[in-house]
């Protein structure tokens, strides 16, 4: 049920190693509920895995987004500023959040491994 071409973090983010895009998984958006606000990071900034990538707010809750990888932020999805609901509607497509030029090795899960993790939660 999780796309096989993507990699995943334990914090419920997906990483597309082809396009460098990062977003949150269908499991994460479902748990958050209606996303109503997104705060995006600045472009052209170097970040380490675990650094803040911004904030996602649902009607009820504020959630920090932490980078699953290290690298340089090369783009943010500004469409989300006006349409944060894209994260709910199309989490792996139009709901992407940032593009990061990844440096070094990232500790990521395969779709199968991620699915197992979700089932254990």
């Amino acid at each position: 049920m999780y796309p096989n071409n993507l990699k995943y973090s334990k914090d419920h983010e997906w990483v597309d190693l082809e396009t460098n895009r990062i977003g949150i998984t269908s499991f994460a958006q479902e748990a958050l509920g209606d996303v109503v606000f997104v705060e995006l990071p600045e472009v052209d900034v170097e970040i380490e895995a675990g650094d803040s990538l911004g904030v996602i707010e649902s009607v009820k809750a504020v959630s920090d987004l932490f980078s699953p990888v290290s690298g340089r932020i090369i783009a943010v999805n500004e469409e989300l500023l006006d349409r944060p609901e894209l994260i709910n509607e199309d989490p792996y497509g139009e709901g992407w959040i940032v593009e990061i030029e990844i440096t070094g090795e990232a500790d990521l899960l395969s779709a199968d491994e991620y699915e197992k993790l979700v089932k254990e939660e």
Binding site: G33, V36, F37, E39, V59
Partner: protein
Amino acid sequence: MTELKQTPLYQVHLAAGAKMVDFGGWNMPVQYAGIIEEHKRVRESAGLFDVSHMGEFEVKGKDAKAFLQKILTNDLDKTEPGKTLYSPMCYEDGGTVDDLLIYCFSEEHYWLVVNASNIDKDWQWINSKMEGDVTLTDISDSIALLALQGPKAQSILALLTDLNLNELKSFRFIEGQVEGVDCVISRTGYTGEDGFEIYLPPTEVTKIWETLLEKGKPFGLAPIGLGARDTLRLEAKLPLYGHELGKDITPLEAGLGFFVKINTDKDFIGRAALAKQKEEGVPRKIVGLEMIDRGIPREGYKVAIGEEEIGYITSGTASPSLGKNIGLALISADKAQIGDEINVIIRNKPAKAMIIKTPFYKREEK
């Protein structure tokens, strides 16, 4: 951790796919289809809420009325059989114990409907003030409570009862049957819409819940969780205990002066402190604000003018009906007025907001 309490509809909520959360020690549905969709449904057609977690106390006896007058800030002379009254209940210092509804069956028989998270505290408080010929009984476990809210509420309820709902005015209640079940039905609610609250036996609530949803479906009726209940009440600026009201917040500060009868000869607990506060002017007040800059005001965020902190957010959300980010704040009374710009401190950064008139949302009268 103590086990979460469940309403009689717990299994029904699970079967409906509700997302459950801990609300004041109760395992309650926070949403079914999604908060925004549910919110709009109540504004546009109708929604059904399980609020069986609310507490009900029965007060009986020759001195029942005099006793309630002592512990409540509103005027009990305004009640009569068939009337529902809203009132804060205060400590001696004017801080708020709870806000509740009083159902008058006769001058010797009342129900008090209290907030779920305050049941134990209220029970102890009221018992500690007991005097005269009064008996107090916690009947919470023998009463389930449904709220049917929205512009289509009356049309839907009329399909299940012969009672004349046209005659049932706001803040009135009647005893009668819904689908053959004995109920107490009041025209009250917590959404800013027209609607009803239906008190009934827990053994019958599943049947009534399911029948209402089935018959109401053509009108758009669906179950609504506590998430939308909160955004609905916030748009209507209805206070929530623990947010706009509390031990350290008086009803006058919360803007509920209408329900504090200092202008009558009634004596009640907290009267002296509240009369003094009224005379001197409240030190703080609840105001409504709308964000100008990006950001959602959230409970606990600080509010400032320039460098000076003037208060904090008590409730805030992205308003589904208005498409704006709104909040209520408790601020120093003399620091800002309607139309003034203030800052909400969001993640250590000031974001501009304007103090605006409340309620944020008011339904159009028929």
